[in-house]
């Protein structure tokens, strides 16, 4: 894990996104903290002028700076790109031949990639967290920090990012190239949520319920990796799951990477036995999604029409899915020709 040659090599092939990540954290935390202070001061002044109420910073305002909001989504995207530069892109080029010829275990190669990412995330996060915290702490809005816990604004986002990054590496261990890695990471990162939404819609259209729909069950949130990056886990159980999932993904990823068949680099999946699983999942999702889209065009009152249009959408997209999947199975993206 600490071979400096591997650190150097990994850094060299991902430094672009590593520095983007730093920029994102700077924008999210210190810069946003400064700008928020401005905004809050302005609001407080306005509130004082109109004399009607005293402006108070809410927990939500603080969370926006540390663990929620638009920037966390950007960070999540950057983390997926980082993981895909370290594993996926290597597969698209001849670099994988180089790394695999080195005198290291493949799991060591995987751990080195993991360690680089985790160090970068932890380092940059802490580096930006501390000054932002101090900035707010020194201001007149310091009380806002008491509205949130350190679990919410420090541990949850940090461990959430680490988990999501590890998750993206795990996906990299089973996919054959960069684009598949990115696409699958997002798809699986949202999968429980996507399935829930699609089934709910399916049941609603048919007015037939296996389970009641109301607010989103909490376990779906826990099972959806993406939620870990957007500050949804500010509680003990969330933290615990983030750590647990990180351990599972690290060990699992290393084990899968060890069994890597790089002759399948450039193809959709490295492990051919996973093909049927993904074909089924993808087909179902696409078909259900087709139903959802087309049925939403039908007027709300016309139930029969909605069901018909649902199935029209379903079958069209099913066909489309089958065609797409055939392409996926035979695809091969390598940038410098397949060595013979």
């Amino acid at each position: 894990m600490f071979e400096k040659g591997l650190w150097f090599q990994n850094y060299k092939q991902s430094k672009f996104i590593i520095w983007i990540l730093l920029v994102l954290f700077v924008l999210q935390m210190p810069l946003q903290a400064i700008l928020s202070l401005e905004t809050w001061t302005e609001r407080a002044e306005q509130a004082a002028e109109t004399d009607e109420y005293v402006y108070e910073v809410q927990a939500w305002d603080i969370n926006q700076i540390f663990s929620q909001g638009m920037f966390t989504v950007f960070v999540a995207v950057a983390l997926v790109l980082l993981a895909s530069l370290l594993i996926g892109l290597e597969r698209n080029t001849r670099r994988n031949d180089f790394t695999f010829s080195l005198p290291y275990k493949r799991s060591t190669l995987f751990y080195a990639k993991w360690a680089l990412g985790v160090t970068v995330i932890t380092g940059f996060f802490a580096l930006n967290y501390i000054p932002s915290y101090i900035i707010i702490h020194q201001s007149e809005f310091a009380y806002g920090l008491n509205l949130v816990s350190s679990l919410e604004i420090f541990w949850a986002p940090l461990l959430g990012y680490i988990f999501f990054y590890t998750f993206a590496l795990l996906i990299g261990a089973i996919t054959g190239e960069m684009v598949s890695q990115v696409v699958l990471t997002f798809l699986l990162g949202f999968l429980p949520l996507i399935l829930l939404t699609l089934f709910q819609e399916f049941m609603q259209v048919h007015d037939f319920f296996f389970f009641s729909i109301g607010s989103q069950p909490r376990f779906i949130t826990y099972l959806t990796p993406f939620y870990y990056t957007i500050g949804e886990m500010g509680e003990m159980i969330g933290i615990f799951l983030a750590v647990l999932f990180t351990i599972i993904c690290t060990l699992g990823g290393a084990a899968l990477y060890e069994r890597n068949k790089i002759e399948y680099n450039g193809e959709f999946l490295i492990f051919k036995q996973l093909n049927p699983v993904f074909i089924v999942i993808l087909t179902i999702i696409i078909a259900l999604f087709g139903g959802l889209i087309v049925s939403s065009l039908a007027p709300w009152g016309a139930n029969a029409l909605r069901i018909i249009s649902y199935w029209i959408g379903f079958s069209t997209f099913l066909l489309f899915a089958l065609l797409l999947i055939r392409r996926l199975i035979i695809m091969n993206i390598t940038f410098s020709g397949k060595p013979t």
């Binding site: 040659g5 150097f8 060299k12 080029t93 001849r94 031949d97 010829s101 005198p103 290291y104 013979t340």
Partner: protein, 290 residues
Amino acid sequence: MEVKHISKVIHHQTILADIEFEVIPGNIVGIVGRNGAGKTTLLRSMAGILKPTKGDITIDGQSIFLKPSLKAQTIFVPDSSEALKNYSTKELIYLYKSIYPHFDQQYLEALMNRFSLEPINKIGNYSKGMKALFTLIVAFATKAKYILLDEPTDGLDVIIKKQILQILIEEVADKDVAVIISSHRLDELEFMANDVILIKDGRVDSHYELDSMKELYKKIQLVFETELPEEIAENTYVLEQTGRVSTVLIPRDSTAVEELISSYHPLLYEELSMSLEDYFIAKLGGDDNV
């Protein structure tokens, strides 16, 4: 280093089948075969990049797949330096130095001077020949015992080609290293390799030591009244046939074949000088050889 009965199946296609041989330091081993015969797959397996479907690669009796640290003794030089093209010479030296503990920077610098290779910011900006030279020098500087070269001289001009082969020979003469070279050009390897492994359709078609080669076969030019009798064609390797004149390869000590030929009363029976390439062509299939 031993290649132990390795087979490789990719997409249900057998690329390598039961390949076995041994590499002893101090030798230059040529792996020869037509394009697509499985040479690169074999080299990549020997470098530990691909895991064989069956069989194993061992160094000092231990599997390189179970004990990857053994791979510090091998280095693989692919036919393109694509993988590290964005590195500067300095970065590359740093990288190799931190991976190969015995990396010899002095040797590297001495050879770079000898071939007037200037340090550069991006290895990708070296000319093709310089890249090939540089990667080879770096490979030798790692002090690895087994150097695996995939088509090292492919597409290079004669001068660079000669320089590359010379470095290689000097290394083998100086140190206890083994060089394993794949090539589809036998003429280049003919005097360099003392051990040639011919691969056809993923199998070892023949394996011989160079010096014994010429003692095994002879090349004969034959002219008959009519066309080449079929019985002769079946019992010899036909290298070339133009009209009534044919050139065939026969085992040097086979009186049976010679008697067979004389029984057809050839108008001309003349021994010609033979190169290994003749043998290669005969074994791997006629004039349509790529």
